[in-house]
């Protein structure tokens, strides 16, 4: 194959591009734009599909993933616009922002966005936007921190978060305010990537009585390092992600079941497809106790020498004892 023929081939490619047209013959087409492949987000994506199929059994899904590459968030939105999907779902903040910015005529449902108002997706929490609504994954920061305080009275709480993740920055702000309200000192440390996490926890571990981690992909990638340093210094660690706490020792994890959040998002998308105006749907939260998971690791509690109050133990949905994971409810 010579240079000339390669050039011809590329020219043909360009012409082919120009001739692309999309015959719309299928029932409902749903585009899902995910920021990165990640266990929680993958579960969410699966949930969205299952939730939507309940009311729209013949929905066709176009699953796209930006691989953490933010410049492709817009390419995916363009693709959905060109293919005239009936509805688009954005998983995480930047992908949802790109969808809302580029899709003017199709409804956009966001999920796994901590603060949709702060992210500029909607103007207020109590009503949806024009063609925009969705689920926030605002974690119960106050409850998570209060859990720690119930287990062991403390004066200083440590927190590590990624300065490059919008969700994490917002949650850190909320955690700071919760600590101020409780009169405890908030000791924070930020990282730019997962490799810095061990250093960050080592830097603050001697100055804290407990450590709290919120939803933060960058930090959770290095959770084993945080857990190890906390265990070595006998400092209780509470996180917002029960799924990673199943195999990495943390005292307790209190968070969402992301698959259920996906289901709820999918059902919401189904309602919007059926004609419910998005403006009538305020930002949704996972409020139901059954949507929440509380994991308590009794092995870690024994090692730290802390007693978990009985009422908290009753709320637990997953217990770890002698290395065995048991689902309580």
């Amino acid at each position: 194959m010579g240079m000339r023929s390669m050039r011809c081939l590329l020219s043909v490619l360009l012409v082919m591009l120009a001739g692309l047209s999309f015959a719309d013959m299928r029932p409902v087409r749903i585009g899902i734009s995910k920021i990165v492949a990640h266990p929680a987000l993958d579960a969410l994506e699966q949930g969205v599909q299952d939730g939507l199929r309940e009311s729209w059994p013949n929905a066709v899904f176009d699953l796209q993933n930006a691989n953490g590459d933010l410049s492709t968030a817009a390419s995916i939105a363009q693709k959905f616009r060109a293919q005239k999907v009936d509805l688009a779902v954005g998983i995480a903040t930047p992908t949802s922002q790109a969808l809302v910015n580029l899709l003017r005529d199709q409804p956009v449902i966001y999920c796994a966005v901590t603060d949709p108002v702060d992210a500029g997706l909607v103007d207020s929490y109590d009503q949806g936007g024009d063609n925009v609504t969705g689920y926030s994954d605002m974690t119960p920061v106050a409850e998570q921190i209060d859990f720690l305080l119930r287990v062991r009275p403390m004066k200083r709480l440590g927190h590590i978060y990624a300065s490059g993740e919008a969700n994490a920055v917002r949650l850190a702000e909320i955690a700071r305010r919760v600590c101020e309200a409780r009169g405890i000192e908030f000791v924070e440390s930020t990282v730019a990537n997962s490799a810095e996490v061990r250093q960050a926890i080592q830097a603050i571990i001697r100055r804290v009585d407990g450590v709290y981690l919120s939803n933060d992909n960058t930090v959770f990638a290095a959770l084993p390092a945080v857990s190890e340093v906390c265990m070595r210094h006998r400092v209780p660690l509470v996180t917002a992600d029960p799924s990673s706490a199943r195999n990495i020792p943390v005292l307790a994890a209190w968070g969402f079941d992301y698959y259920r959040m996906g289901l709820a998002t999918g059902r919401l998308a189904g309602e919007v497809l059926s004609g419910t105006p998005t403006a009538d749907i305020p930002t949704q939260y996972m409020k139901d106790p059954s949507d929440m998971e509380l994991l308590v690791n009794l092995d870690v509690a024994a090692m730290l020498g802390v007693e978990i109050p009985a009422d908290l133990l009753e709320q637990a949905s997953i217990l770890i004892k002698n290395g065995q994971v048991t689902e309580v409810r």
């Binding site: 591009l17 993933n65 953490g68 817009a74 995916i76 363009q78 930047p94 809302v100 992210a119 919008a166």
Partner: protein
Amino acid sequence: MIEGIFVEGLIYGIMALGVFFTFRILNFPDLTVDGSFPLGAAVMAACLAGGAGIVWGLSLAVIAGWLAGAVTAVIHNRLKVPHLLAGILTMTMLYSINIRIMGNRANLPLVRTDTLFSMVTGVFPGLDPSWVLLIFFLLLVLLIKLLLDLFFLTDMGLIFGALGNNEQMVVSAGVNPATYKVIGVGISNALVALSGALVAQYQGFADVNLGLGMVVFGLAAVMIGEFLIPSNRIWVLTLRVLLGAILYKAILYLGRYYGYAIHMTPNDLKLISGLLIIAALMLTRRGQKGGKGLFS
């Protein structure tokens, strides 16, 4: 879809022109790009959020980009460190600076603010906005390309060309190469930051992680362009960078559209883009040197 590819290719093409300037004209492989691209986005977003307006945003983004490039060149000149290290140092520092510029945030939304895009499409309300944008960016990018072409024909531009070819010759002609590197790398990153400022408005947000993989995109555009049209006339050189950027975007789009037909997932796109650059490099080498290429 086709207008989407062209608009994206053109906007990122401005960044590719900047990469072309450092890599091909100055012979200065510059990694500042991964930091100066989000710098432009951050400055633009901060200006729009602060109510300073579009013109100020674009102007300040360009100035900030120029400064970032100048810092890289100064580190390289003064401390006698390699180009790559100087760029990496600036890029690393820009991460913190970009977060500061956006008011200690990682991400600034522009979804609900007036941007250049909403302004341009608002001028012709009766027409399809995506085609209006395409025409507008075609004109804008051609204007930038034309200015660059004219710049390379001035005395200063010719010195830049000579500097990349043979630094010693420029020194013996009584020109200080250090000064020119500061100006040149500055201009390159000003273009990159301008591209970043436009991308932020196009996407609807500025984010500190927007620069990931930008150098790779710029290089891919340059190399695919070189494969497309062999030439040594400056106006063709800049044109083929833009064509390379559009074609590269198009190929990535095709991967997204039809990849499923060959069981490709979106995760494979990075691999495809890497292989694509390697293929373009091999073919171009073969074209230049008559050596053994990919399809001989």
